[in-house]
């Protein structure tokens, strides 16, 4: 092999090869005048050149004109030039291109065009000009093109005017590919396709507006056999014309129709064949959507388990034969008290949570007839709210409790506190500690009430110290009265777990503190004469990291400790470790409190801790309640055979015979029934139907794949790797709970990435990402994000009056801008509802009724003319979104406006644009202050504070379930709804 040391060592052929790839200017600048050899090489090679003269600077043009073109003009084959600065005119005065084969002309004028067309035989012709507007001149050009340029095979024309080129007989023969981007009449179009014998591909626009009828030449038309693909944009065309056009094209395989027509396209469908894609075939998409929706229904049916809430209360009287056992009952709830925190542990391991409650252990040993420790198993989800609900109503949790009322947390079902109020004994209730109880029971009148907010997880002591400050006085105060029930909910252990985890030294301190509380209460019991009962329970456990919420054993395992000052009360107890379900506390507690068991409780009494002589009556009471509930619930739920059998057995024992005999047998039967009942209902309410979920997912996947197949050929392969990887990441995210919790930020991150990568002007990019950045301040935190995430200050309710007025003032301006941009002044109704809502924000009475009226009138208008639908949606959105989040809606609107406006090239048709839009819609779900959690649904949208008396019929409508539901749906998905409406509107405008 010969060593190549410098460029000149290369052979001439190699250079020719290189030169083929270079533009003339680069070629000359790089190689001309280097030495004799290169001059010869560059100029004397009898080959083709390509000259790209678009957007030339004037000095470069002078180089072209003076140095390059005189040498090589006759060899140029490919020329692209823009004639804005009259370059072509200057060139053509001195130089002629004889070998030109393909030409691209921008902004060319008639004279120069004619010169070029008369001197060259072109194969490829591209023109984009708006200097030629006159119909006569256009006709001339086409005459030349069709009659003289016989070699022409590809033609692409963009004239910014209407076009018609009726000519008698054209000689054009070899054109294979034609793109005409200006409106022409259908008759011209027909002439064109019937004369171009070799045409394969045609892209044209037909507009029959203002057409004089010239149907003379229709008679002697022949079909075109070579045309394979056709892209048509049609406006104002008649059906028979369109059919005529279709009937002329015999072999068309690909057809793509765009535009607007005012007749039923299905006629055409019946008549025509061979279409592979047809944009008007809406029914296909409808059926696909239908498939998707069926899949979704299957999925939801399997996934979202529902339980019907029965809003009935237990009625009847407590058996009179049982005396009131306890005057004072103290329920101490220690949040996140895991079983091994309190259990006596004989292992030699010492750490900060084992054996840290010595007094409890002491009590268990010394006063074993008065105290008892049980292992409680809670049902997942192990969050405080859900556990408290179970602890008072005795129900098992499901995803959704179908209820007849929308109001947030409040417990509607029958529960212990409700029964206490209803009972004839007038036991007074006191509450200390966690304020979650108040959210659950806003309507209960507590005798003593000392609650503290629970949201600050870092604060270990405020709630506990607050309780301890008041607990002793409350106990003393209520002791002298007849009957009392005290609830104290300590949060310190839970917060310590969240902040430090169970292994930290703080845990030892908190547990010792709890131990002290129990000690003091037991001491105060010993001093008093009246019989008292202390129940210490944990609502859930915690993992080794100190978190809770899931169904790990550490999380569901918690403890129950009972102590009474009645001697020998728990006499007949075997001291083994016993495990009971958490809901079993409900009937047991009702028994001790001497009240009826709540109606929908599924708990069964912990029979072992009830004195032997009362057990039969207790079991009977419990069974009667369950029997009533089962009768009610079995209308909608099926019960298993075994359960039915046991139920029948117990029914004979308790109700048919009602005689106390062979207690152990009954107890065994009762326990078996309890086990069967609870497992059965857990299965019903907390096991997903996996088959339905899989069927649903498969159906949805199939419909997505079919969509993909249909749209495959519309794909633009630009940025495909980036888009696919982003989509995949979006998909994978949903498999990790940390990403689901932080989904808002993930979507935000994706959006910013797409903006960063996209090909837009820098200023526009920056504006878009800055607007997105502003929306970030409106994201609200999920419960799980709590320690690291702080809600923005204006999202917290009623920050201050002035700021509220400021926000609503901002919202007023913002909505006015949106309305002006979207709605005509002639259609006044949205403005009326806008004014009403603004008035409502500024507390003007009676004004909201006008709003509702205007909405009703608008609905009537929409029924008459569906075009007004988006305006209706806007006017509902104003009210529903509220002033707090109006600014986000405005930002969203603004973002779309920027994306769609001043964007005159077709860049936005690629998929990264559509990916952007779809992620944007999802993101704005979060940005409008939502989280996909049931507890974060903003019910306020459905419950306006009406400070006026509204007409009775109107209020009937407003308060109806459907209206409220629709309002909440619109509020929740306002981002997505706005997405659809705005895209549709702005896209049409383009």
């Amino acid at each position: 092999m010969k060593q190549i040391l410098s460029l000149t060592d290369l052979s001439n052929d190699l250079f020719f090869e290189i030169f083929d790839y270079l533009d003339v200017l680069d070629l000359f600048q790089a190689f001309f005048n280097l030495n004799q050899r290169f001059n010869l090489l560059v100029i004397d090679r009898h080959n083709s050149f390509q000259a790209n003269m678009i957007s030339l600077k004037s000095y470069k043009f002078s180089i072209y004109k003076n140095f390059i073109l005189p040498h090589i003009a006759c060899y140029i084959r490919y020329l692209s030039i823009s004639d804005e600065l009259n370059y072509l005119q200057i060139i053509l005065q001195s130089i002629s291109f004889t070998n030109l084969l393909s030409i691209k002309l921008y902004h060319v004028k008639l004279k120069e065009l004619k010169i070029i067309l008369q001197h060259c035989q072109l194969k490829y012709f591209f023109i984009d000009t708006n200097y030629i507007q006159n119909e006569k001149h256009l006709n001339e050009i086409f005459k030349i093109l069709f009659n003289q340029q016989l070699e022409l095979s590809i033609m692409q024309c963009h004239f910014h005017t209407n076009l018609y080129f009726i000519e008698e007989k054209n000689k054009l023969s070899k054109l294979r590919r034609v793109i005409i981007d200006c409106d022409c009449f259908s008759s011209d179009f027909i002439v064109l396709i019937s004369q171009l014998r070799e045409l394969r591909y045609l892209n044209a626009r037909i507009n029959d507006y203002n057409r004089e009828y010239m149907d003379k030449d229709i008679d002697h038309l022949t079909g075109n056999e070579s045309l394979h693909s056709l892209i048509l944009h049609i406006e104002n065309i008649e059906l028979d014309r369109l059919l005529l056009i279709f009937s002329l094209m015999i072999n068309v395989r690909i057809i793509d129709l765009n535009g607007t027509i005012d007749f039923d396209i299905n006629h055409v469908l019946e008549l025509e064949r061979n279409y592979t894609s047809f944009r008007y075939m809406n029914y296909k998409f409808l059926s696909l959507n239908f498939l998707y929706i069926i899949g979704l229904i299957f999925f939801l049916n399997g996934f979202l388990l529902t339980r019907r809430v029965i809003l009935q209360n237990s009625i009847g009287t407590f058996p009179l034969s049982i005396p009131i056992e306890f005057n004072q009952v103290i329920l101490i709830v220690i949040d996140a008290l895991r079983y091994d925190f309190i259990k006596p542990n004989n292992d030699s391991i010492t750490n900060n949570y084992l054996n840290q409650m010595p007094f409890v252990q002491e009590l268990l040993e010394i006063k074993s007839k008065q105290s008892i420790l049980l292992r409680l198993i809670a049902d997942p989800p192990t969050t405080t709210l859900q556990r408290l609900k179970a602890l008072t109503t005795g129900t098992l949790p499901t995803f959704i409790d179908i209820s007849y009322n929308f109001i947030g947390y409040e417990i509607q079902e029958d529960n212990i506190l409700n029964q206490l109020i209803k009972s004839s004994y007038q036991r007074n209730i006191s509450l200390l500690g966690d304020d979650t109880w108040l959210a659950l029971y806003p309507n209960i009148k507590f005798k003593h009430l000392y609650v503290y907010p629970s949201f600050d997880v870092h604060d270990l002591d405020t709630v506990d110290n607050g309780i301890l400050k008041h607990l002793w006085t409350v106990i003393e105060d209520t002791r002298h009265e007849q009957l009392s029930f005290i609830i104290a909910h300590f949060l310190g252990v839970d917060h310590c777990g969240h902040r430090y985890g169970p292994l930290h030294i703080e845990m030892k301190r908190k547990l010792n503190q709890m131990d002290d509380v129990i000690r003091n209460i037991s001491l105060s019991f010993n001093k008093s004469n009246s019989s008292s009962l202390l129940i210490v329970i944990g609502d859930h456990g915690m993992t080794q990291q100190g978190d809770h919420g899931g169904d790990e054993l550490n999380e569901i395992e918690t403890a129950m400790f009972i102590y009474t000052n009645k001697p020998n009360y728990f006499l007949s107890l075997n001291q083994n470790e016993k495990t009971v379900s958490q809901i079993d506390i409900v009937p047991t507690l009702s028994w001790f409190l001497h009240i009826l068991i709540p109606y929908s409780s599924l708990g069964m009494m912990i029979i072992d801790i009830i004195p032997l002589e009362q057990r039969y009556i207790a079991m009977k009471l419990n069974f009667e309640q369950i029997e009533i509930y089962l009768k009610h619930i079995s209308l909608t739920l099926s019960l298993s055979d075994k359960l039915q059998e046991l139920r029948a057995n117990l029914h004979t024992i308790f109700i048919s015979f009602d005689r106390e005999r062979n207690l152990t047998m009954i107890e065994n039967l009762f326990n078996e029934f309890k086990f069967e009942l609870q497992t059965h209902f857990r299965l019903q309410w907390s096991t997903f139907n996996v088959y339905r979920i899989i069927i649903g997912l498969i159906l949805m996947l199939i419909s997505c794949l079919i969509f993909l197949l249909i749209f495959m050929k519309l794909f633009n392969y630009e940025n495909i790797i980036f888009n696919i990887s982003l989509t995949l990441m979006y998909f994978v995210i949903s498999f990790s709970n940390s990403f689901i919790i932080n989904e808002a930020m993930c979507l935000y991150f994706f959006l910013q990435t797409i903006i960063l990568i996209s090909k837009m002007k820098i200023l526009k990019k920056f504006l878009l990402s800055f607007l997105l950045f502003l929306t970030r301040t409106f994201l609200i935190c999920r419960e799980e994000q709590q320690p690291y995430c702080i809600d923005s200050i204006w999202l917290i309710k009623k920050f201050s009056d002035t700021s509220d007025y400021f926000l609503s003032f901002m919202a007023t301006i913002v909505w006015l801008i949106i309305l002006i941009l979207t709605c005509n002044y002639s259609y006044l109704l949205p403005y009326i509802s806008y004014i009403c809502v603004v008035g409502y924000w500024f507390n003007i009475p009676y004004i909201l009724s006008i709003f509702y009226l205007s909405i009703i009138i608008q609905i009537c208008f929409v029924l008459l003319n569906p075009n007004h639908f988006d305006k209706l949606i806007y006017s509902i959105l104003i009210f529903v979104v509220g002033y707090r989040f109006s600014f986000v809606i405005f930002l969203q609107y603004f973002i779309y406006y920027i994306i769609f406006n001043n964007n005159n090239n077709n860049n936005n048709n690629n998929q990264s644009f559509s990916l952007f839009l779809s992620i944007l819609a999802d993101y704005f779900f979060y940005a409008t202050g939502h989280q996909p959690v049931l507890s974060q649904i903003r019910w306020t949208a459905a419950f306006p504070t009406l400070n006026s008396s509204i007409n009775i019929y109107l209020s009937l409508i407003i308060n109806s379930l459907i209206v409220r539901g629709i309002f909440i749906l619109i509020e929740t998905f306002s981002g997505q709804i706005l997405n659809v409406i705005v895209i549709r509107k702005l896209y049409q405008k383009k």
Binding site: M1, Q545, N737, S738, I741, M745, Y748, T753, F773
Partner: protein
């Protein structure tokens, strides 16, 4: 010329800072950390390109985004490396944001640690990969020549 290079460094650091805040870095807290992060990114990723394009920010932008014009330049080995280095650093830093929201409660999950580490990894990987790429290409060409 040295002035313009230094000025270009400052500009790029500012741009990186703004972009990282826009992409989700905290605005009011951790200002120093974000600044350090952007300085680091610019130092390891952009230094060769700044010096070889003599600190012309416009040309750097064109070089990174509008690849049509610079296609010819970037076929040269040097620019191939530089281009891959910049993109490797950026992609590395981007991927570094992934572990931040995970709930593992590790000290290194704090902003900007993961991003720093992964941008370093991305930069080095990009150099290694482009070296291997060129090596394989050369070998193929060599084999073709022999045949």
């Amino acid at each position: 010329m040295n002035m313009s290079i230094g000025f270009c460094y400052l500009q790029l650091i500012g741009i990186t800072y703004v972009i990282s805040v826009l992409m989700g870095a905290p605005l009011l807290t951790d200002i120093l950390q974000t600044l350090m992060f952007s300085i680091y990114i610019v130092l390891i990723g952009f230094t060769p390109i700044i010096i070889s394009l003599k600190g012309n920010l416009h040309e750097i932008y064109n070089f990174l985004f509008q690849n049509e014009f610079y296609l010819i330049i970037s076929t040269s080995k040097k620019f191939f490396y530089m281009r891959n280095l910049v993109w490797g650093t950026i992609i590395g830093a981007w991927l570094g944001a992934i572990p931040i929201p995970l709930d593992w409660d590790r000290w290194w999950q704090q902003w900007p640690i993961t991003c720093l580490v992964s941008s370093t990894i991305g930069a080095s990987c990009s150099i290694i990969i482009s070296y291997l790429w060129l090596w394989i290409r050369n070998k193929q060409k060599y084999n073709e020549d022999i045949e």
